[in-house]
Symmetry: C2
């Protein structure tokens, strides 16, 4: 096992699984729509529902996932619960992805592996 073997660092099950989970959180159009709604403003669930056109239980479920994963944070305000991005880097990561897409969008679009 030489140091140049990448597996030493990167193939540790924990790291790989964490990365997969993070990307998975970002791999759903519904969740990306929700995150987009939160990039500019803090919003409550109803606003997100109206903004995205998704069902309320569906939005709540996605928000729970995003909250558990630390991608969004929330605070109660009366009967409302207001959500916002937990970290600037969440938006940064999405923006970096967009930059990559600017080069490879053709390929990604043509990819037949996922029906989304």
């Amino acid at each position: 096992m030489t140091a140049q073997n990448i597996q030493d660092d990167l193939s540790a099950p924990d790291t790989l699984d964490l990365r997969a989970k993070l990307f998975r959180g970002l791999s759903d159009p519904s969740r990306l729509t929700i995150l987009d709604a939160l990039v500019s403003d803090e919003r409550n669930v109803q606003e997100i529902v109206g903004h995205t056109g998704l069902g309320q239980p569906n939005v709540s479920n996605h928000l729970r996932c995003l909250l558990e994963c630390g991608l969004v944070s929330r605070r109660s305000k009366g009967r409302f619960v207001r959500y916002r991005l937990a970290d600037r880097r969440v938006a940064d990561l999405i923006r970096d992805a967009d930059q990559l897409l600017a080069s490879t969008a053709n390929g990604v679009d043509a990819c037949q592996s996922y029906t989304d």
Copy 2:
């Protein structure tokens, strides 16, 4: 429609689906293992199989997805087919994710939404 409203740019259905697809390509531990194997070197399928412990058809299938999505490129060399990352930014994106994980790993790890 003010310029500061990010949704103007980002919520276009096409953009959302592309982003979801890109992240989806990165959301699988097997594909992340394959990409890790390709960060340092160009490798053929057998080497990747040996490196990852995945089955050969499984690797080929993932490579097809990654190739279609423009995340890896390939060139034939005799009977072998050598794969490499298509763009430096693929590795960059993964590294950015790791930086975010350094802050939110606890949350991601605790996220119960995905059983991976």
